[in-house]
């Protein structure tokens, strides 16, 4: 409800409401875009552009879906365009990467888990955006498959298939690495588990 009120204020040009929306979503959107592009600077620029569009296209927002879906839809469209423009699937070398971005919290204390997390990130970055976007939305951002279908404007069956393929790819990548951990999918909630 609060978000809808804020949106109606933004539609009238209220910048305070816009700032409030930004505060609510900036970290999530930057993080999401960083997962997709693999570059912090690009992620921040795309996040800025996302919020620009939220402000200028506020009149096009219809409160039939959650605001988060709408914002993520804008962000994922921008990310897709950016990836097409770059015409590449970015693979980030974690060994050489300079971490100049602020982390929200430390990773696993256990070195083995930390290494697995790095491998998983690498695998995610090497995944094609067609599969990466639904997997990130589902497993990291926590959207339901129906919401993802709405965000990406694809049929539900397509989304389910893409998530499944993406997860299988990640599973294979993890198995190929030194981490030969059992990687199953929880049928009930659709979350991956080990």
């Amino acid at each position: 409800m609060r978000e809808q009120e804020l949106m109606s204020h933004i539609q009238k040009g209220d910048e305070m409401a816009f700032e409030e929306i930004m505060r609510m979503y900036k970290d999530k959107i930057v993080n999401f875009l960083w997962r997709l592009t693999g570059n912090y600077q690009t992620a921040v620029e795309l996040a800025q552009e996302t919020f620009m569009r939220v402000y200028f296209k506020a009149n096009k927002y219809r409160p039939v879906a959650p605001l988060s879906s709408w914002i993520y839809a804008i962000a994922s469209n921008l990310a897709k365009t950016e990836l097409k423009k770059a015409n590449r699937v970015p693979v980030v070398s974690l060994d050489n990467e300079v971490y100049h971005y602020p982390e929200q919290r430390a990773s696993w204390g256990n070195p083995e888990k930390l290494a697995m997390s790095k491998t998983l990130k690498k695998a995610l970055n090497s995944l094609h955006p067609r599969y990466r976007i639904p997997v990130v939305l589902k497993d990291i951002e926590g959207f339901s498959q129906e919401e993802i279908a709405q965000i990406l404007k694809k049929p539900l069956g397509t989304i389910k298939a893409r998530i499944s393929r993406g997860r299988n790819y990640l599973k294979k990548e993890l198995e190929d690495s030194s981490f030969r951990l059992p990687f199953n999918h929880n049928k009930e909630d659709g979350h991956a588990e080990i």
Binding site: E15, F18, E19, M22, R23, K26, D27, I29, V30, N31, W34, Y40, A43, V44, A47, Q48, F51, M52, Y55, F56, Y101, P102, E103, Q104, R105, A106, S107, W108, K113, L114, M116, S117, L120, K121, L124, D139, I140, F183, H191, A192, E193, I194
Partner: protein
């Protein structure tokens, strides 16, 4: 059985410290740019409209319509009507199209007895004025 989300181990990043301020600065720049481009667009549209109006006014009221040029007049050395100051309204040409059935004419001429004209010179003078 230990159960956890493997993605939980992935670090999450934050937006830069001055993210909102940067976005608002960008927003103000875009707003100015949009106002400028809207003004420019409207000015351009207005200028084009004004040109169109001037063109129409000149054609309808100020520049007189030139009349037709007749070859017969030119052969006789008479300047065209619009040079003589004759307005086009005075010289409006009304095209009349009349269908003529020549077949009947030919048939009729065949039915008539053939006529032979004998032309004979009646005077010794050269027939300067006589035209056959």
């Amino acid at each position: 059985m230990q159960k956890y989300n493997p993605y939980e181990g992935l670090e999450r990043i934050k937006a830069p410290a001055h993210f909102e301020r940067d976005v608002l600065n960008l927003l103000h720049q875009r707003q100015k740019k949009r106002v400028r481009s809207r003004t420019l667009r409207l000015s351009f549209a207005g200028a084009m409209g004004a040109i169109a109006v001037v063109f129409i006014v000149l054609n309808l009221f100020i520049i007189p319509e030139k009349g037709t040029v007749e070859f017969s007049d030119l052969e006789r050395g008479i300047p065209p009507a619009f040079e003589r100051g004759v307005t086009s309204s005075a010289e409006q040409t009304i095209p009349i199209i009349e269908a003529v059935d020549y077949t009947e004419e030919i048939r009729r001429s065949r039915q008539d007895p053939p006529t032979i004209y004998i032309l004979e010179q009646c005077s010794d003078e050269t027939s300067r004025g006589i035209k056959y």
